[in-house]
Amino acid sequence: MLNVSGLACSRGERRLFSDVGFSLDVGEWLHVQGENGSGKTSMMRLLVGLSPADAGEIRWRNEPTPSTEFRRDLIYLGHHAAVKEDLTPLENLSLAAALDGIALDERAALAALVRLGLRGREELPVRVLSAGQKRRVLLARLLTRPAVLWVLDEAFNALDVAAVKLLGELIAEHLSAGGMAVLTSHQPLPVPGGKALVL
């Protein structure tokens, strides 16, 4: 499904990595590893199509990316909070879905927030939530947005023990339901199996 070959990237004068290749199929996940500054985030941004690669090819369902189909199948959560501080978690979820052109009824959105442990905070502005709770609002999008490929950059940061465990469960469920995931993280991840890519 996802085939990457010969990927190269440089920042300014420095070559970050070259000739990176891997492929992912249904139910598989990839752990991108490396030291600080080795290009993990750059790799993720190349993969989702935010920045162009110096060389190499990324194919999704045998089509070169970025295509509309790829974007429909993809969810990318990066370092940024990507939630609006002045809106409530519920508004954030439903507006994000509306922008993506996805119908989302309020019950499904509420269920996602409850699953992420935000019960009773649906109607508060995000600005009063803690850093970890803001992160959970973002992660709730994994449940409200149907996507095959999850690309999560440092998604386990700023999460407490319970949330790390929960995210591990969500990823495992997603994989067993026929999804795929690409994750970066410094620590070992609570998800079984997985391919490794060291930059």
Binding site: P52, V83, K84, L87, E91
Partner: protein
């Protein structure tokens, strides 16, 4: 198209939660136009002559004031990345943001202009032409301004740079917008000016969101 309206609704909702930002530009417009009679003197004939120019220049600057915020907040918190990766076309979402910007920063100026025009002794038909010219011209300002806002996104000294990039491109809108009212006062009829403004607006509606989208993708790289 639903994504377009969702973007408009989202930006209006955000502005509603933070009213001060919108009101600043409107107050700026009111204050700047009121300063001119104080600087020039209260002579009605002179004020009537320069009124269209003053109101238009003030509208230009007031629009400029709101432009840096058009994409900056979404850029900083990562929402813009999400928009760029959304299954909806980024161009459509950008067009929605531009429309929301006009509703928040342009439309209030259009509605206020006749009231401020009274300060300058403009008669009712001239006020009508002024309002109509602003109604055609302010969306044009938002559309052109969005290109500049996208180009200067996350750039050092972005606000001042934005003014330098955008103001020369605003000149045709200023000339035809203020010219419409002047032509009407001079008894020449404003039809030509207004149709040229409308033509430029039509051109910008097709061209500007596309250029803005390209600039945003570059800014996100």
């Amino acid at each position: 198209m639903n994504a377009f309206f969702a973007t408009v609704r989202r930006d209006l909702l955000l502005a509603l939660r933070r009213k001060s930002e919108v009101l600043t530009a409107v107050f700026f417009f009111v204050i700047v136009t009121s300063l001119f009679p104080l600087g020039i003197g209260p002579e009605p004939v002179l004020l009537k002559k320069i009124a269209p120019g003053i109101l238009w220049v003030a509208a230009l600057l007031a629009t400029l004031l709101g432009l840096p915020r058009l994409f900056a907040a979404d850029h900083v918190d990562g929402t813009l990345e999400q928009m760029a990766l959304s299954p909806s076309s980024l161009g459509l979402l950008v067009a929605g943001k531009i429309l929301a910007h006009w509703l928040l920063c342009g439309l209030p100026l259009v509605l206020l202009a006749p009231v401020l025009g009274l300060q300058f002794d403009l008669d009712a038909p001239a006020l009508g032409i002024l309002t109509l010219a602003l109604l055609l011209g302010t969306p044009l300002l938002s559309l052109i301004g969005a290109i500049g806002a996208a180009l200067t996104l996350g750039v050092r000294g972005g606000g001042v740079l934005l003014a330098l990039l955008v103001l020369p491109l605003y000149i045709p809108a200023l000339i035809f917008g203020a010219g419409a009212v002047e032509a009407h006062i001079a008894g020449l009829g404003a039809g030509g000016h207004l149709s040229l403004l409308a033509a430029m607006l039509a051109l910008a509606v097709f061209f500007a969101p596309w250029a803005t989208t390209a600039a945003l993708r570059i800014a996100l790289e």
